[in-house]
């Protein structure tokens, strides 16, 4: 009888542990935003014409603000995102990465297209007038400012380096801080793609 009770207790504990493990909510590596409003739409220019956020409804959209002369942070982040997309395989077809340039003086649509292809063939780079970019950046919480660089690099831009994820319905869902790793990005994207 004692053995039966002992077995029952052990099985119940194991079952509970398994239940908690399998039914636990996904723990996002980015910060989850629960906005009741759609992410701010924008229309900016790529090498292939105008691009609007709303064009990609039905896909996950990753938005990054950067510039092609960016010495370290932007290429590191874009390289990580590119690798994460390769790691998730075919489902990456349902993800669109858009880099919004904060440097309209130097980043032409053609230059952006060439730059973005280094990281992943599907990546898009867009730009606009300084006023358009200031507005879009403000609304996505991206601060940026020109700073002095070297003779070789020209001026630099200090900017917020977060990576934003818009869900399939067009809501801002996740904010990744700078430094997020490839497995972390891939893990959250895989989960969101299953939703």
């Amino acid at each position: 009888m004692k053995i039966k009770i002992f077995t029952l207790v052990i099985v119940t504990i194991l079952g509970l542990s398994a239940g908690v493990y399998f039914f636990r909510p996904h723990t996002f590596h980015g910060t989850v935003i629960q906005s009741p409003d759609l992410a701010h739409d924008f229309t900016l220019t790529s090498a292939d014409g105008d691009v609007s956020l709303s064009d990609y409804r039905g896909k996950l959209v990753l938005i990054y603000f950067g510039y092609t002369f960016c010495p370290d942070i932007c290429p590191a982040t874009l390289a990580n995102v590119g690798q994460a997309l390769r790691d998730i395989g075919d489902s990456a077809d349902d993800v669109q990465v858009i880099m919004i340039s904060l440097d309209p003086e130097r980043d032409t649509p053609e230059k952006l297209a060439q730059y973005m292809k280094h990281f992943h063939p599907s990546f898009i780079g867009v730009t606009g007038t300084p006023e358009q970019l200031a507005e879009v950046a403000a609304l996505y919480g991206i601060y940026y400012q020109k700073t002095e660089g070297s003779v070789a690099s020209g001026y630099l831009l200090d900017h917020t380096a977060t990576l934003l994820v818009i869900d399939r319905e067009g809501y801002l869902k996740l904010v990744f801080p700078f430094g997020v790793t490839v497995p972390e990005i891939a893990d959250d994207l895989k989960y969101m793609l299953k939703q």
Binding site: G15, Y143, Y144, Q145
Partner: protein, 224 residues
């Protein structure tokens, strides 16, 4: 044996469902929703120096809007800011800084000098309270209108129509609460309580407890 196994399975499922139900109903952990990203900005403060959204990262910030020619009591905006500021020691913040920012919607008249005089005239403690604006009116409209989702309009006769409101932003630049209507509990009391909730989350949401906090967000266990 099969029957016993089924009973155990049902029992385990019932315990899990009851736990989720109890968590949602009793809300052992309360949080504030992560509503949206706060807008980024580069304003000029009453000290005639830049005040950027990046300067305020890492601490909690309470925003409001007004203009210095707003006829007193002007929705008691300054009084509420002052009350919250003076009662901060009631909240266990654990060293997290709290900043206050009043954005002027009248940049034509509210120059840094005017804002400075105004701050002094109302007896504001400017050690962590900034009065700021930008002459870029279009961007100002974007920041306040679309970013903070607060209505204001220049009536053209020196007066502005606007919705008095306060917006609480966390250290990551995420809007965590908005105070747009008069409620039974004063805005100052609610803001102070919410600052405590935010500080608690920052300090406790680490390691395995983080999962409980994320569950509180998932099950909408929001502090009133």
């Amino acid at each position: 044996m099969n029957k016993t196994f089924l009973y155990i399975l049902y029992g385990v499922l019932a315990v899990i469902i009851l736990s989720v139900f109890a968590f949602t109903v009793f809300q052992p952990i309360q949080v504030l929703p992560r509503m949206q990203l706060a807008p980024a900005f580069n304003l000029t403060a009453q000290t005639n120096t830049p005040l950027t959204s990046e300067d305020l990262r890492g601490g909690f910030t309470l925003y409001t809007i007004t203009y210095t020619n707003c006829p007193a009591p002007c929705y008691n905006i300054n009084e509420i800011m002052q009350e919250v500021q003076s009662r901060l020691d009631e909240v266990p913040l654990g060293g997290i800084p709290v900043n206050f920012v009043t954005i002027s919607i009248d940049p034509d008249r509210d120059t840094p000098e005017v804002l400075n005089t105004y701050a002094q005239s109302i007896g504001a403690d400017t050690s962590n309270w900034w009065f700021a604006t930008t002459t870029n009116k279009s961007l100002l409209k974007t920041i306040i209108g679309s970013g903070f989702e607060t209505y204001y309009e220049d009536k053209g006769d020196g007066a502005f129509a606007f919705d008095p409101s306060f917006v609480l932003v966390d250290g990551w630049g995420i809007v965590r609460s908005e105070y747009r209507y008069v409620t039974e509990v004063s805005n100052a009391d609610r803001i102070l309580r919410h600052l405590g909730v935010l500080a608690e989350e920052v300090h406790n949401s680490t390691g395995s407890t983080k999962l409980a906090y994320e569950a509180a967000h998932l099950f909408l266990c929001y502090a009133p």
